[in-house]
Amino acid sequence: MNQAQTMAEKILSNKIKKDVYAGDMIISPIDLAFAHDGTLPLAIEKMEEMESRKVFDKDRVLVICDHASPSPSEKVSNVHIMMRRFAKENGLRLYENGDGICHQIVLEKFSAPYKVIVGADSHTCTHGGLGAFATGMGSTDIAAAMIYGKTWFKVPEAYKIEANGTLKTNVFSKDLFLYIAGKIGADGATYMSLEFLGSTIRDMSIESRLTMTNMAIEVGAKCGIMEGDERTKEFLRRYGREKEFKELSPDKDAAYKEELYIDSEDIEPMVAYPHKVDNVAPVSDYAGLEIDQVCIGSCTNGRLEDLRIAAKILKGKKSKSRLVVYPASRDILIKAIKEGLIDILVDAGAAVCPPGCGFCIGRTIALGDGEVALSTQNRNFKGRMGNNNAEIYLCSPATAAVSAINGKITYPDI
């Protein structure tokens, strides 16, 4: 009998039609390569160095204007023109102003169990929440993948994270991930596939799962993978892609390099304080800290269930802090409008902005000197929100909404 496999080993073996295990160097076909306005220009330049601007398959390459979109400047507008020209030449689908964040678009249109996805963006690991092997790369790797439809991988060793039990009502998958980051550190899973198992994960919505795989890179992982189950199937059905579903789970005796077991009942609402994601503490440690701006959105927590939680808390209330909301995609924005969530948020004082990265990278909206932000995004690095002299705290949408009402970091007593 063949050796037992982790989820990463299974997906890659399936893709190259040969059993492979951690440590093997492989050349694998890819199902999708994508890049955005922050990374595509350099990738095009690299393609030109390879003497080809032509992609291997127009249906397996996506380009997205999301990082600085709608364009805030002349230079960015010119970058977008260059992207449109490239897309047109190749007959590619190009996602425009207000379509949303690259990862959310790829989740809605493309990701599924057993797919191999590479993106010129570090949070490409998000797609593992739907059972894909997905990893971020630089522009040269993506240029090569776009031309040849292949790339090289070292099959990663795996880090098993098993969370069992029920989360408290005010604790969300974001809190659970911040807890994990605090436990294993910013380099705790370097080069590894972070594989999530256990009843807590199984009981989570796909949206909540995606928040966790999105942040796999924040502990150094190459990818984050979750099982493909009924909930995965239901998500794909919602987007008319049920046919792409396949069950995915690791073999029982799969070999893990590291293992972490978590009692989910014990987890408290968490924050990550400046300037590292693994600087984590219970929200109560920072309660009372004044905040200038609360940000709800990003590829981590800009989905419908995040907006629902925020709207539930903010209904009929006014935000004391400046409040900015970026839904992660056009689809999410439309659904949020139909459910009446946007009315509630706007009424509470939110500036609701067109879907895109927005505050997360500080290109279309930036912090001022000495300001403090509380955000649902995935990174709190110095300068991340466009100002080296600002401070960023990370939290769940619930903590963000409750804190907005007080203008101070507040324990979510909900």
Partner: protein, 166 residues
């Protein structure tokens, strides 16, 4: 003259610190972008690098974590850095380095062993770093064969051009 250690960095230096994301829309010319290298944490880095030749930077763990931005190793190369030695690298950064022909070496406890200004002699075949200033020798993990092939070709693009694909 052997290459000299320009800086020894602590753990978890991220790509936003190496080159802030806010410049990446403005400049594809790495020589010009390089002026901003490390500007949020080490203002004199660029000028110090430019006043010398053949430089190495050393770091503790997880060097280059954060975004997939290939501009990070590119600006280091444009500053005249010929090799980066760290206890460990973030994965995307590590891959990006070799793709652009910049060697990245993993060596245990290196940040504690060497100091700014030390002259180092690196032997990729033997997997050794000779510290000429301190009179010490350190062993490092040999670079995996496939990555070595990329490095020897001068980067992923020259390699793929030579081989006509993967």
């Amino acid at each position: 003259m052997s290459p000299e250690v320009l800086r020894v960095f602590p753990s978890d230096i991220n790509t936003d610190e190496i080159i802030s994301g806010k410049y990446k829309y403005d400049e594809l010319d790495m020589g010009r972008l390089a002026v901003h290298t490390f500007e949020s944490i080490d203002k004199s880095f660029y000028n110090d690098a430019k006043s010398k030749k053949d430089l190495i930077i050393v770091a503790a763990k997880n060097f280059g974590c954060g975004s997939s931005r290939e501009q990070a190793p590119q600006v280091l190369k444009a500053c005249g850095i010929s090799c980066i030695i760290a206890e460990s690298f973030a994965r995307i950064f590590y891959r990006n380095c070799f793709n652009i022909g910049l060697p990245a070496i993993e060596c245990k406890d290196i940040a504690e062993k060497v100091s700014k200004g030390d002259e180092l002699e690196i032997d990729f075949e033997a997997g050794t770093i000779k510290n000429l200033t301190k009179g010490e020798t350190y062993k490092f993990k040999p670079i995996p064969n496939y990555i070595r092939e990329i490095l020897d070709a001068g980067g992923l693009i020259p390699l793929l051009k030579k081989k006509g694909g993967f």
